[in-house]
């Protein structure tokens, strides 16, 4: 049983008298056995947050609680956490067996034979038993990664901390390890905090994801919730590839007026806006439908600018057909359509932006005023 609570955790560095805030008032309750992914662009404070949990950085404000006990001031060794580093940080002069035994030798009073047995069992579970007598430099990247994981698992900690553990692997191995790591975590049931900048890892691995930007926590939610009901414009833009299309708009006579088009809104959507005048319209590329000719209220005449075939789907860059050479001329936006959909540069067709799929954000605060409709039966667990 280990429930990890970050309560208003703050970190600031002093740089020649200037105070740089790396993490600002982050509060997350991580349940026992939960897999939480911390995600955000580089420099957003996700690694700093993880290092504070590990005890490698001091906490400038707020509290860290493990099962209700404040651990903010404990030494790393006394926190009962194990960490997997991006570089794996294996001890180069020790064999795999010695690497794995080191933590048990240093932090417990276990007898040597008990340690040895536990190392062997864990190695067997990880499928690295035949590597035990080798030195790290004799291992491939994937094997080193496995040893680093094994070294964390053998200590049987209350919390696993992982700092971009898969980022040094090639793409194929990374996806294998992703699944394996998830399965392992589920079987062991150990509370895990996982830092990554890779949104595929974030979307597929976590029970919940916490999105950070500029040291501030933007949203903590299940991956699908964050994807479909983003708390703000940053989350909406950060998750999803290609990213969401945004259009600045003003609200006039029940419609959104942009530089390129006018988008009539229903009563329900208008209610959500709460009388805001300037908003930003967001729509995900995969929600845009391509039709032969614009017919409905939400259909617009467009010309295909560029097609990026990805195999299973095509990214299509579209340009609005405008009557005037106004400010909005030349603006392209992206639609993602099925790979078999016949479309070529120069095609003139219609783009449909269904009202059920749009997001509307406040221009100043970025807060989501309206999110897309969601299927109530939709699966909670991603994949």
């Amino acid at each position: 049983m280990a429930e990890l609570v970050l309560d208003g955790v703050t970190k600031h560095f002093d740089d020649d008298g200037d105070r740089i805030v790396a993490v600002d008032d982050a509060s997350i309750d991580i349940e026992d056995g939960e897999f939480l992914v911390l995600v955000g662009p580089s420099g957003c404070g996700k690694s700093t947050t993880l290092r504070m949990v590990a005890g490698l950085e001091t906490v400038s404000g707020g509290e860290l609680r493990l099962d209700g006990t404040d651990i903010s001031d404990r030494a790393p060794a006394d926190r009962d956490v194990a960490m997997v580093f991006q570089s794996y940080a294996l001890y180069p002069h020790m064999t795999v067996r010695e690497n794995m035994a080191f933590g048990l030798e240093e932090s417990t009073d276990m007898a040597d034979d008990v340690i040895d047995e536990r190392v062997s069992e864990t190695a067997e579970m990880m499928g690295i038993e035949e590597l035990l007598e080798r030195k790290p430099r004799e291992l491939s990247g994937g094997q080193q990664q496995r040893v680093a994981l094994g070294r964390a698992i053998v200590r049987d900690p209350e919390v696993f901390l992982m700092d971009e553990p898969l980022s040094n692997l090639d793409a194929k191995l990374r996806s294998t390890m992703r699944t394996e790591l998830q399965r392992l975590q589920e079987n062991l049931g150990v509370t895990t905090v996982y830092v990554t900048h890779d949104q595929t890892e974030a979307m597929t691995m976590g029970d919940r994801i916490a999105i950070l930007n500029d040291g501030r926590l933007q949203q903590v939610a299940t991956p699908l919730e964050a994807y479909h009901a983003p708390a703000n414009e940053f989350v909406a833009g950060f998750l999803g590839e290609p990213s969401m299309n945004f259009f600045d708009a003003s609200v006039e006579d029940g419609s959104l007026i942009t530089d390129q088009f006018t988008y009539p809104l229903s009563e329900d959507t208008l209610d959500d806006l709460g009388g805001a005048d300037d908003v930003r319209l967001g729509v995900r590329p995969e929600d845009i439908e391509l039709v032969e000719k614009p017919v409905g209220d939400h259909d617009y005449a467009v010309t295909v600018d560029v097609v990026e075939p990805l195999g299973d789907e095509n990214n299509v860059y579209l340009e609005f057909d405008l009557d005037t050479e106004g400010e909005g001329a030349g603006r392209t936006f992206t639609a993602a359509v099925d790979g078999t959909h016949p479309v070529a540069a120069g095609d003139e067709l219609g783009a449909r932006i269904p009202e059920s799929a749009i997001h509307i954000f406040d221009v100043d605060s970025g807060v989501a005023l309206h999110n897309r409709e969601r299927d109530p039966d939709e699966q909670v667990i991603p994949q």
Partner: protein, 331 residues
């Protein structure tokens, strides 16, 4: 397995209570209890590091900084061979005395000549040799090892060799000059020539050092820079002068600092050359003068003042270098 592991975890929890009494973690635990939350970890690392650097620091600090302070105090009083220092009367008389002393002036001049001529010549020779060695030659490491060999020898040893090489009757240098029709010279006992002869011998001993430093600098320059210069049509000479040499600024700075420090320590060489406290005429430098005043003439306060001035000279050379290194984040 998990059950067994949990058992082990419980066992560990109990043992941890005893663990706090361990001595090696003791300081950290104390710091943790006393300090506030913010300073807890900072002082933990600081206190943990003390046992490692403080003993060496204390030993080094006593002998280096303590001794310099003591030496400075000594330079402010007037102690000769046998009297005790009287610290109630401090003045800068010894420093004033130095500036009125012709032998101090000439030693200072010699020191300056040695510093500049020796350092510059070593840098030039070292750079040229490094460029040659860096041209993908075979047995490169052997060449490098041979060129650096003299540096591994003691000043006392090389002084013996050069005494013989500079010998009037059958030294190699005179054999060569005579063969060239230039005649024989008393290289060491002629005050006009002695300093130049000493500088030449020191260049022989230390140019290999400059070569090694430059070679490391050349190695750090990516091959693309040579290739880019070639593609741009630069001649070999131009390529080195305009593309490569400017990139060796760091190597030049660190090599010159170290060479100057070597030059200040040339005492051993001059002492061994003369077999005593009086170096050959025309080669007296501040290092030899200080030792002579202190341990032969018995003018201890005067010697201390010369020592302090040498120290200031070293600081003047090294301080800008350390500042430069610090700015580049290399300290």
């Amino acid at each position: 397995m998990i059950d067994r592991i949990h058992e082990a975890v419980r066992a560990r929890g109990e043992s941890e209570g005893d663990g706090d009494a361990r001595t090696d973690g003791g300081t950290a635990t104390v710091a943790d209890d006393d300090a506030g939350s913010f300073f807890g970890s900072v002082s933990r690392d600081f206190l943990g590091s003390l046992p490692f650097w403080l003993p060496p620091f204390a030993l080094m600090g006593f002998f280096v900084y303590g001794a310099i302070g003591w030496n400075f105090a000594l330079s402010l009083v007037n102690v000769q061979q046998f009297n005790q220092p009287n610290y109630s009367q401090l003045d800068f008389d010894q420093y004033l005395r130095a500036f009125g002393d012709p032998s101090f002036i000439s030693a200072a001049q010699n020191t300056a000549v040695l510093l500049v001529a020796f350092t510059l010549a070593c840098l030039v020779v070292g750079l040229l040799v490094a460029i040659l060695v860096d041209r993908h030659v075979r047995f490169e490491n052997t060449f490098r090892t041979i060129y650096l060999l003299p540096m591994s020898l003691s000043f006392v040893v090389t002084a013996q060799f050069w005494l013989w090489l500079y010998n009037f009757d059958n030294g190699l240098v005179n054999v060569v000059t005579q063969a060239l029709g230039l005649g024989r010279y008393k290289w060491i006992s002629n005050p006009e020539l002695a300093l130049g002869a000493v500088v030449f011998a020191l260049i022989w001993q230390f140019s290999g050092y400059a070569m090694v430093v430059y070679l490391a600098g050349l190695r750090a320059i990516p091959d693309e820079h040579y290739e880019a210069a070639r593609v741009d049509g630069a001649s070999t000479l131009k390529m080195y002068w305009r593309v490569i040499v400017p990139q060796l600024k760091g190597a030049t700075i660190s090599a010159s600092v170290v060479l100057m420090v070597f030059a200040l320590k040339a005492f051993d060489f001059l002492y061994a050359l003369a077999g005593g406290f009086f170096p050959p005429k025309g080669t007296d430098i501040l290092s030899t003068m200080m030792v002579r005043q202190a341990f032969s003439a018995g003018n201890r306060s005067y010697a201390a003042a010369i020592g302090i001035m040498l120290f200031l000279l070293a600081i003047a050379i090294v301080a800008p270098y350390l500042t430069y290194q610090y700015r580049r984040g290399e300290l």
